[in-house]
Amino acid sequence: MDRSSHLSVILDLCPTQWSLSAKPSNPHPLPFDTFLSHLLVFLNSHIAYKHENSLAVFGALPGKSVLFYSSEEAGDLSTAEVVQSDPNSYRFFKTLDQSLVQRISREFDILGQPDTEEPPALVGALTKAICYINRLLHPAQTLSSPEDSANLPEPRILILSVSPDASNSYIPIMNSIFSAQKLKITLDVCKIFGPDSVFLQQAAYLTGGSYIYLEHREALLQYLIMSFLPTPSIRKIITIPTEDKTDFRAACFCHKHIVDVGYVCSVCLSIFCQPVPVCSTCRTKFPMKTLQRLNMTRTPSQPSTPRPTNGTPTRQVFSGLAANLR
């Protein structure tokens, strides 16, 4: 079926990471403005794909999350007046491009150059995106009926991530993933820069989305279009690369380390990286015997290392395509 689709894009706008990404010393430097121009083409392509397709763009800035753009406001004439009409471009594209660029630069201006930088508010952006989709999927509680569901858009969320996992966001991210599963939202992740994100890998795996680590960053647009533009129904025909090795490790509650083998409280399922006498979450005291036994068998604490991931055949296809790109 040719259903319309909704796409929520979450931009990770961590200034430090982006400045690192733009460094010419990188094998494939990608400055932010190049990224933005690729992104705008991708967003326009999504709207071009079908008249009814809708879009929302959220930004995860240090310490705060912002809704930059949504298709709703584009339909609103009052905001659209600001945009100069142009006979040479489609108005929806024009509105999108202008307002997105304006608002992002405004947020960066407000941000200034702080000495210490908070981690980007990915959770805030993600939860907002889910709430937004929830509203789209349940327009009016009174009118909902099974037949109507065919008219509702297929929802997707695309996370463009550059910063590493913030371990204290583990639980909220997991909660968001489960809500996404309930609402049948596909979470796609494109890791543009920085180390692989264990949490986002899980997010993509659990919601049937795809996690792609961008190797040839200059080919960003081609990656975006080939992997993240197809709707879930098209993905049944044209396969898109998925991360084959998914890491199912969790972060421990005490030091926020990511652990292979953890000690789990049977009452509240808190995870600890070493045996503790009292659960810090629910204050349960653990029996001495167990502690002794566990301390005996305990292996010397292993600093968790990122597991190696293999290059996949699909990645090689990408390299081939990248060579073709201008």
Binding site: M1, D2, S4, V41, N44, S45, A48, Y49, K50, H51, E52, L77, S85, D86, P87, N88, S89, Y90, R91, F93, K94, D97, L143, S145, P146, E147, D148, N151, L221, Q222, I225, M226, L229, P230, T231, S233, I234, K236, I237, I238, T239, I240, V317, G320, L321, N324, L325, R326
Partner: protein
Amino acid sequence: MPAVEELSAKDVGPHPLLAFLQSQPKKALSRLYQRPSSCLCIFRLLGPLERQIVMNILWLDASIPASTMSSWVVREGKKEYDQALIELSRIDVLVNSATELTLSATFKTSLRQAITGGGSTGSFGVPLPGHSEHPTPSIATLDTYALEKWESILHYMVSSGTGLPSAKPSAGVEFLLERSGLMAKAREMTSSQITSTGFQFLLHTPHDQLWALLLQYLEMSEERKTDIVEVISFLFMLSTMELGKEYSVDTLTKAQEHMLSDLRDYGLVWQRKATPRRFSPTRLATTLTSSLPPLPTATGAGGAGDSKGEGFIVLETNYRIYAYTDNPLQTAVLNLFINLKSRFPNLVVGSITRDSVKRALMNGITADQIISYLTTHAHPQMRKNKPLIPVTVQDQIRLWELEKNRVKSDEGYLYTSFASLADYEYVLKHGRELGVILWESAARRCFFTSVEGHASIRLFIERSGQNQQPNRG
């Protein structure tokens, strides 16, 4: 439910305009593709898979080996994928080549331009700022105008069948209706009568109706030797325009300016007077390349923002129909296949009877069309039922249709004058084994076989040394 399956099958099928484009010469297509707005619209009319293929190779400069692309396709999807490639090359979007995939150069440049903006083709229309004396018409005004125009056309069609007087649309519309075979002038009458295709047309969704008429219009323009590229690209330009804005006539070509008056008759554009320098597209025009309802809710009571509240029919298992509408057009359409009993300010009550359905069948409407009309216009309350249309009613409508087809005709051969009953049964048994016997009568010692069976039966008889002459039936 067969009715629902049919509906969805119709959604998936390729757009009627694409078939029209296929029939056009390459040169015309490549001229059409010079305009970014046309490329964008054609792109939107394509099937979902085709759109993805176009997107995948849009930003590649060199052509990509076909094998690389097909390695992305899962085995079960191969057939659809190949079909999509064929469709694309038929309308000359894809350059025809077995080993490489490339978009045609014009299409690629224009679609890229559409997506990134820029260029100087002005294909998205030149918007004008609001006029000081005559304010831009509000969206509500445009909606009412479009609805009024469109419904008057349909109403004209319906009422021509019943003989009730109704306002005649403009000559252009009338000609178009006749041309498309929806209406026909009977010899002895002055006014035209609705045909059976016309009745079927009435039960389609507004979107399909609109495109059917526009395609007819395109063919008509072709015959009139108008430049077809101008016509199509103007339609596409309209569909990318924005509702509630005014656009300038100055940039249009002669042919397009001429079109304006026709389109005004169909309700696609709004103009303040007959020959102004500006025009506004209506919802009918701006939703051409989408699947959104092209008309505001026809009942009018539900508020215009409520796009899904279209359903108004409640059908009960006892064949009674309650239609919450005060719209004369909808009432008239219903009247095609139900017996109206009573009318209230916002409600029409009637029932489906054998006679009413027979009447519809005589008019050339099929049972499936009736059922699909009832399905698409079912009241939200009814959508809770499963199946949506009561099975009894559905079956009965189909049975009434079958009644019409009581006599079935098959071509075949009649075998008669067998010498003995034993001979007869011997041959008959062979025929039964082959499964070619359509009818038999032991008393009269004759049977009837299908055309395919004739040769083998005759061979069998000849081989058995019999001399019966098979008589042709």
